[in-house]
């Protein structure tokens, strides 16, 4: 569920921040040391991490801490990331490292001194909810500005004080009138106000053709800009549309995330502790450990139903109805019963029925599968599908509408291997229920899942 959001972040970074440099203003910018676009790299790195310590990020990206902080500060002001600054001892930092190890594959080794010095550690994380809003607002303002300028007549003049930088609009004009009536004075510092020209299309001075042509040229330029903007930003706008209805990935505050991640990691991996680390433990804090199994794998292991399947395989065809929706007497096509699965992208696996069910549950978990399980499942279902086709050809009876819930047939189906044997047993019987049996495997998958998840 986080992938579309990550894509949005990447598109936005390349669209708007690709000329950002992390050098300070008074540093010499030579051709060799120009690092424009580093902001894109930083954002991309953040899409692959959750909460991350800034020093760690700097080390990973091989950037100077100061430059990274400057960039991160800029993003914080743009409201794209959230930061948290904590005063911690080195031990506290270890808890964070353990939490990271639970969710990512980082092997951090912070075996350090045991001094009780309190350093300020800074952490940062992408703020997806705000990113969505910020990007939309930015696009809206861009369009608005160009459209206003295009109309050319109805822009309200802005004034700025050169001394104190205070801004005024033309609405404040009567208040600002100076005593001699000649110009506008700033209210706080009495400096003469400057007109702020916000015209995007630069005024062309000295056009002999008269202002008709100049005006037309400006309009052309603005229309051109507007059009180019729409074309170049189209992928970003599309991604915004896709992301609109999805729930926002939420990591919570730093503490909450840390606690959750280390607890989950600990649960998934038992207590094979990283010993040296655990010895320096805090009292009462979760024991840090190092393990490279991820939380996500756990769910896959217990369900054992091929997570690798993309859960969106069948959105184009008729929806497969889960068994609890199939009541007797419903006139459903084979597809809806989840029987015929030809067009899956995954090479003849009929796991789409399973996928339909586990859709909501699994989609948050990423693609961290054990490959062996995957291969086995694929092979098994391929064989199953072949068997189904043979059965359907053999069965001459019309499809029985009451094919659906056949609890008796499901009771014996627990283990994955057993199904295959049952199929061979039912080959010869030509009962009314033969079609039911023929349908059974597919349904039983769903029943099976039903049972396990029930």
């Amino acid at each position: 569920m986080i992938e579309p959001y990550n894509k949005l972040v990447k598109l936005a970074a390349r669209a708007f921040y690709d000329d950002l440099t992390s050098k300070g203003d008074n540093q010499p910018k030579t051709g060799r040391s120009d690092n424009r676009g580093i902001a894109v790299v930083v954002l991309d790195a953040l899409t692959r991490r959750q909460w991350v310590r800034e020093e760690d990020l700097a080390k990973d990206l091989k950037l100077h801490t100061k430059q990274l902080r400057r960039t991160l500060r800029f993003f914080e002001e743009e409201k794209i990331i959230t930061r948290d600054h904590r005063r911690e001892t080195a031990k506290g930092a270890k808890i964070y490292s353990a939490a990271v190890a639970a969710t990512a594959d980082a092997t951090t080794g912070k075996e350090g001194e045991e001094k009780v010095k309190l350093h300020t550690h800074s952490y940062c994380c992408l703020d997806y909810a705000q990113i969505y809003d910020v990007v939309r607002y930015r696009l809206h303002r861009m369009k608005h500005k160009l459209k206003d300028e295009l109309e050319n007549k109805n822009t309200i003049q802005q004034y700025i004080c050169p001394n104190c930088g205070k801004r005024y609009t033309a609405f404040d004009a009567p208040r600002l009138l100076s005593r001699n009536g000649e110009d506008f004075d700033c209210e706080s510092c009495d400096g003469k106000l400057d007109v702020e020209s916000d015209k995007l299309a630069a005024q062309e001075g000295g056009d002999g053709d008269g202002d008709e042509n100049a005006r037309r040229r400006r309009r052309e330029k603005l229309k051109d800009m507007l059009q180019k903007m729409e074309v170049q930003l189209k992928p970003l706008i599309d991604q915004l549309g896709r992301v609109k209805d999805l729930p926002v990935p939420e990591f919570g505050s730093l503490q909450a995330w840390e606690a959750r991640a280390s607890a989950a990691g600990r649960a998934a991996n038992g207590d094979n502790a990283g010993d040296s680390k655990s010895h320096l433990g805090y009292n009462g804090a979760p024991m840090p450990y190092s393990g490279d199994t991820k939380v996500v794998v756990d769910f896959n292991g217990t369900e054992g139903k091929g997570e690798g399947v993309k859960s969106e395989t069948d959105s184009t065809s008729l929806k497969v109805l889960p068994p609890w929706m199939i009541t007797s007497g419903m006139n459903l096509t084979k597809e809806q019963r989840g029987e015929v699965k030809q067009e899956t992208k995954m090479d003849g696996t009929s796991t789409s029925t399973a996928a339909q069910y586990t859709d909501e549950k699994k989609s948050t978990i990423g693609h961290d599968d054990k490959n062996i399980q995957d291969e086995y499942i694929k092979a098994y279902y391929a064989a199953l599908l072949k068997k189904q086709h043979e059965l359907e050809e053999a069965a001459k009876n019309p499809q029985d509408a009451n094919a659906a819930d056949d609890p008796s047939s499901s009771t014996s189906i627990r283990k994955v291997g057993d199904k295959y044997k049952r199929e061979e047993d039912d080959d010869g019987t030509e009962w009314e229920e033969a079609p039911a049996r023929a349908d059974a495997p597919a349904e039983d998958d769903e029943d099976d899942i039903d049972w396990e998840e029930g």
Binding site: I156, Q157, A170, A173
Partner: protein, 176 residues
């Protein structure tokens, strides 16, 4: 734009005005209070045209004043964005010019003045075209379009433009 609407107001009257002319006194007090004022919601009250209804008076505790709720009809003026008005120029400076259309003041900034008009300072500052054919100075009449209004509780102020077609000077005071 002008509107003819019914407004309501609570008028407080001192007992010295009670008697035969109570109603007349009330009406004249209303007119004195309300005409010329401005509310953000309705605009400037130009004139009271009639009294619709005067409610029963309520004697205030502690003082002898009596409060009458009065419903009256009046003409109000409220400028709107996009409206086109004629106005009289009151002040010209290099940032633009101020004009008045009745009770409302309008400011036209110099970037909304056509580009061929240049500011000329002097004892009579003005805006003039390059060939001198059109001049905007104090007391000229201009037609302008309102592009924004700022409405406070008791004050309305507008920004205008003369850059569109058919806008600009109507009447040159020097030729009058």
């Amino acid at each position: 734009m002008f509107f003819h609407i019914v407004l309501e107001r609570n008028m407080q009257l001192h007992p010295r005005y009670f008697g035969r002319n109570l109603r007349d006194n009330l009406v004249s007090k209303l007119m004195k209070d309300v005409e010329g004022t401005c509310s953000g919601r309705h605009g400037f009250v130009v004139a009271v045209t009639g009294i619709e209804n005067i409610g029963k008076g309520l004697i205030r505790d502690g003082t002898g004043f009596v409060t009458f709720p009065v419903k009256y009809q009046c003409v109000v003026f409220r400028p709107f964005k996009g409206e086109i008005l004629e106005a009289v120029v009151t002040m010209v400076n290099k940032m633009g010019f101020f004009a008045e259309a009745g009770p409302v003041q309008i400011f036209v900034s110099n970037h909304l003045i056509p580009d061929d008009m240049e500011f000329q300072s002097g004892d009579m500052p003005n805006y003039t075209t390059s060939d001198g054919s059109v001049k905007i100075q104090k007391d000229s009449e201009v037609r302008l379009k309102i592009i924004g209004t700022r409405v406070d509780a008791t004050e309305i102020f507008c920004i205008g433009t003369i850059k569109d077609d058919f806008l600009g000077v109507i009447n040159d005071p020097t030729t009058v």
